[in-house]
Amino acid sequence: MRSRYWSLLKKEFSASKSSFILLLFLIIIWDLFLLTRQNVWDKTLIFGLSMTPIIILPFYALVSGFFSFREEWQKKTICFQLSLPVRGVTLTSVKLLVVLIETVIFITIVFTGGMIFGKNVLPAPIPIQGSIQIGLILAMVTLVLTTMSQFAYLAGRLFHRFRWLISIWVFLLTGWGISRFSGYLAISLSWIPDVQLNGWLLSGVWQYLGENSSPLTIGIRGPVLAAWLFSYLIIFLIGSWFLEKYIEI
């Protein structure tokens, strides 16, 4: 079972290899370009620009969720995948895991660039704990978006006509439904403790605006966050169930 999962993972990596390498290459080119501008442009601007590739991440997550499955249908490899003696959740989780690993590499490269350029600008080095926390939040957002787009694509595949329209509609409805109603789930998860995050980034913004006395922590309400994540887990499992049982090739 483990070797099958590993071979699926390897196959998935090789499928998304070219687009991911291109993306990393563009980020490195961008950082090298900023390096050449160090003595010409404002250093704060260069630090800010070095972090801008993070904006790509949500779009990458959306596209990965949709296109990783679309490619299977286009290349007709979905027949092979569904004929394997594995659960639907194995196939969807492999794709999700690949996106997660790529996201971690992506964030590490962007943050490394940011730390290098930030050395000359920031009064104190970026705290490692704060960077890891931001990285985790970004990875979580990526996973959530990929799960949503995966689910939307698989739901669209249930139908024979207007698949794209249905996928987009499912995506929007899922986002609306979860953000609007997962709060009710939070009531039954009230035993989960709140989380305190290092608020260095926000404190930096306040300091830039002239406020030096704000506290350094950002609170995340554990039950609400858990309710959101639990809702996305349900969506993920429903999508996997569709793939395993109901989707026609």
């Binding site: 739901a155 249930l158 139908f159 249905i166 509609w169 499912v170 409805l173 609306w176 439904g177 953000s179 609007r180 997962s182 709060g183 939070a186 709140d194 608020g199 926000l202 404190s203 306040w206 605006l209 002239g210 406020e211 006395s213 704000s214 506290p215 350094l216 922590t217 950002i218 609170g219 995340i220 309400r221 609400v224 966050l225 959101w228 569709f242 049982k245 109901y246």
Partner: protein, 60 residues
């Protein structure tokens, strides 16, 4: 009924529900949901955060 039919029914009901909700300010309530999850440290100078009734204060 097939799974396709059941799913389509669910989508249709949710669509009507979403339309009704959004027409009654549901989009703003998503902001309230977010502000319930994140507790931002407010600066002393009174700059608004999501916890300070963001949508109420930002409307003209």
């Amino acid at each position: 009924m097939s799974m396709r039919g059941v799913f389509f029914m669910i989508l249709a009901v949710l669509t009507v529900f979403a339309g009704f909700d959004l027409s009654r300010g549901g989009l703003q309530k998503i902001g309230t949901q977010i502000s319930q999850a994140v507790i931002l440290p407010a600066p002393l100078g009174g700059t608004n955060t999501l916890d300070d009734n963001w949508f109420e204060n930002s409307s003209p």
